[in-house]
């Protein structure tokens, strides 16, 4: 009874929240927009080094966001591997010998690798980019993993950690290089913008794929634990 009452109270509150939110959205939609960012954006596109505006925003105009966001991703990856068994991330139970899956994977893996490469390349002038490519690459890894292909490199050793950190490191070094050159942090020299963005995007793709894959495969949970401070006695 109390439970039902509580749920209905929450439901009513949520409905009111939706109504209020919708009313605000409706009101805002009716107001004129004081500032047009897209216009400013298109004026500066030529200086960004890429043709596609979303990529330009992500990797040039608001690259600091992207840098921190990769940091967030790496944090998740770290937290993931910190809870995995320390010797290996391999879970024998997950390795199937399903023939269908095996066949599928023979067809799909090369295709997906190509697709990932394409997405990365496409990012310069049409929808696509490091995230999409990285996601596809990670999916490839998942598929391979499910299909039983051993992936020795995915263990919480130095290699995996290097992989996690690679994209982030390169991004950071580029940012630093521009600062050492006397410019603001993350300011690319206009002449090199294109090259730098491509380099960053490529390593980011790898790193993103690595983080996602590590999170997926860190299956066996570590049993070891810390006692709480002073909790034992």
């Amino acid at each position: 009874m109390i439970q039902a009452l509580r749920i209905s109270a929450i439901a009513i509150a949520c409905l009111m929240f939706v109504a209020g939110l919708a009313a605000s959205i409706w009101a805002i939609a009716g107001n004129p927009l004081p500032e047009s960012l897209p216009q400013l954006l298109s004026e500066n596109m030529s200086r960004s080094g890429v043709e596609h505006p979303v990529t330009a925003v992500l990797l040039n105009f608001r690259s600091y966001d992207t840098l921190l966001e990769i940091g967030v991703l790496v944090i998740a990856g770290i937290a993931g591997i910190s809870m995995a068994k320390t010797t290996s991330l391999e879970d024998p139970e997950l390795r199937t010998s399903d023939s269908l899956l095996y066949a599928l994977q023979r067809w799909f893996v090369p295709l997906m690798l190509v697709l990932a490469g394409y997405l990365l390349w496409a990012g310069a002038d049409r929808p696509g980019g490091a995230f999409q490519a990285g996601a596809v690459l990670a999916a490839t890894g998942v598929l391979m993993r499910l299909g039983g292909i051993p992936m020795e490199f995915i263990r919480p050793g130095l290699l995996l950690r290097l992989g996690l950190a690679l994209g982030f490191t390169v991004f950071l070094l580029v940012a630093l290089a521009s600062a050492i050159g006397g410019d603001a942090f993350l300011a690319y020299p206009p002449a090199m913008a294109k090259t730098l963005i491509v380099v960053i995007e490529s390593v980011l793709t790898l790193s993103i794929a690595m983080v996602l894959l590590a999170l997926f495969v860190s299956a066996p949970v570590n049993d070891a634990e810390d006692p709480e401070e002073g909790g034992s006695s």
Binding site: A23, L37, T86, G230
Partner: protein
């Protein structure tokens, strides 16, 4: 020079996060100590630079707002950057000696620690609504990771609660950001404020501000959204608890305060301001009351955070529709409260960790008779308690004094009662611990003295919190520096 300092400030924590990810705990400790040194020096340098030349906007990537992300480097921001350097540096040094280097998962402590630090710096300096969101997430996720690191089911439960609360708070904030962008077409706080200063307030922006502040209040654990905080802060390792209580909750509060100070006057309402103040007062009373009833030492300290956070929210009513003087007093009081609470609470958690290490139990009654051993940690705990009780000459007292002046000056005498009652209530839980330590009982002859380096750090922090009151005027002068509104240098 300033440019280099800025780059160093942004670069160091991120770079050290990567470096320490590649090493194990012991080597990571050495690397981190070097990093702490660098970061403290850079923060100090930036603080001095701003103290000399005034603040500026720093356009990241060479792009100014609204197209790019601008960092607002003013006196307040650099003061908090320096505070972070001091407190996080102390916690890092303490953690290096406190945390067991042999547990394999502890190697991940350092990367998470550095990511947390970089998130904090991003928030103090941030001037862009969305960038602040990313900074907040950086802080929340690394904080959750630190709480959960190697923990038992209890720690995981606490960190899951923490994570869910933090995520909900972030989403509410982000929804507000979406509405703001939909309305104003810009993400820069300064841009929105400038536009509002010479235009009528558009309808619908109230909801945006309300959503953002509600989300941030959840992340700051404002009563009645505080339930996630004590388990998480109480169960984490002491250096982590110290970081969380001292700095992490302040980050979301800082954003809420910045939003309120820039946008609150046009968009907010008197009722909202008073409501937030009321919730803050309830937090002071309820948090202190619960702190009195906790059996475990660190839970007492954690509930004390809930209460102390309540004071901060008095900023909202005390800056809404009041004279310039009162508003300034309230802002200064809030700033001092943030600084002194950060120092005192970090000292308290670190000292509590040492005490738990010494007596081998996390219960308050286990402290019976420890004052006989004259442990430094108890002394540090006591000194930090003076600041939390806001007794003179601590920074907490200076903050309370300014808030009292602001309340009296604006005729909102009801907050005076809250401030005074809050001081007495905090005395109740702090004296409870003093009392436990003075009790002479026969069975407490076992006492393990932790190493000196562990004991000195909380003592220094507590001394700083205590001495802050005497130097308040100097600190406040730097924060009131002129701000040159021109674009990137």
């Amino acid at each position: 020079m300033t440019l280099w300092l800025m780059a160093g400030l942004l670069f160091t924590p991120l770079a050290w996060a990567v470096l320490t990810l590649l090493t194990d705990f012991s080597r990571g400790r050495l690397v981190s100590w070097a990093g702490i040194l660098v970061q403290v020096l850079v923060s100090l340098g930036l603080w001095l630079a701003v103290a000399r030349d005034g603040g500026f906007y720093y356009g990241l990537g060479g792009w100014d707002a609204p197209l790019g992300i601008e960092l607002r480097v003013d006196g307040l921001a650099v003061t908090f950057v320096l505070l972070t350097a001091v407190v996080a540096g102390a916690c890092g040094l303490h953690a290096g000696a406190y945390i067991d280097p042999d547990k394999p998962w502890h190697r991940y402590f350092w990367p998470l620690f550095w990511f947390l630090w970089s998130g904090l710096n991003a928030v103090w300096l941030g001037g862009d609504l969305f960038n602040l969101y990313v900074g907040l997430e950086l802080i929340s996720l690394s904080a959750v990771g630190l709480v959960a690191l190697g923990g038992q089911a209890g720690a995981l439960r606490a960190s899951l609660r923490y994570l869910l609360a933090a995520l909900l708070g972030s989403l509410a904030y982000l929804l507000g950001v979406a509405l703001i962008y939909g309305q104003f077409g810009t993400l820069s706080i300064a841009g929105v404020a400038t536009w509002l200063s010479d235009h009528p307030v558009p309808s619908g922006s109230g909801m945006a501000l309300a959503l953002m502040i509600a989300g941030l209040a959840l992340k700051t654990a404002l009563f009645p959204l505080h339930r996630w905080l004590p388990p998480a802060h109480g169960i984490a390792k002491s250096p982590v608890s110290a970081l969380l209580s001292a700095l992490v909750v302040k980050a979301s509060f800082y954003i809420a305060a910045r939003l309120w100070l820039e946008l609150g006057q046009p968009i907010g309402s008197l009722a909202a301001a008073q409501l937030i103040g009321l919730l803050g007062s309830a937090a002071v009373v309820w948090g202190s009351w619960l702190a009195c009833r906790q059996q475990r030492l660190k839970q007492v300290v954690a509930y004390s955070s809930v209460a102390q956070i309540g004071y901060l929210f008095l900023l909202f009513p005390l800056t809404f529709s009041v004279s310039e003087t009162v508003s300034l007093q309230a802002q200064q009081g809030m700033t001092l409260q943030v600084i002194s609470h950060a120092l005192a609470k970090a000292a308290m958690f670190l000292a509590a960790g040492n005490l738990i290490l010494s007596v081998g139990s996390n219960r308050v009654d286990a402290l019976a008779g420890v004052s006989r051993f004259l442990p430094f940690s108890l002394f540090s705990f006591g000194l930090a308690g003076v600041s939390l009780m806001s007794l003179p000459p601590s920074g907490g007292f200076a903050a309370k004094w300014l808030l009292l002046q602001a309340s009296l000056g604006s005729g909102q005498w009801w907050w005076v009662l809250v401030l005074l009652a809050g001081g007495l209530l905090s005395a109740a839980y702090i004296f409870r611990i003093y009392r436990a330590s003075f009790l002479e009982s026969s069975g407490t002859d076992q006492f393990f003295h932790p190493s000196r380096s562990l004991e000195v750090i909380p003592l220094i922090l507590a001394m700083l919190a205590l001495g802050l009151g005497l130097a308040s005027d100097q600190v406040l002068t730097v924060m009131a520096l002129p701000f040159e509104g021109e674009g990137a240098p």
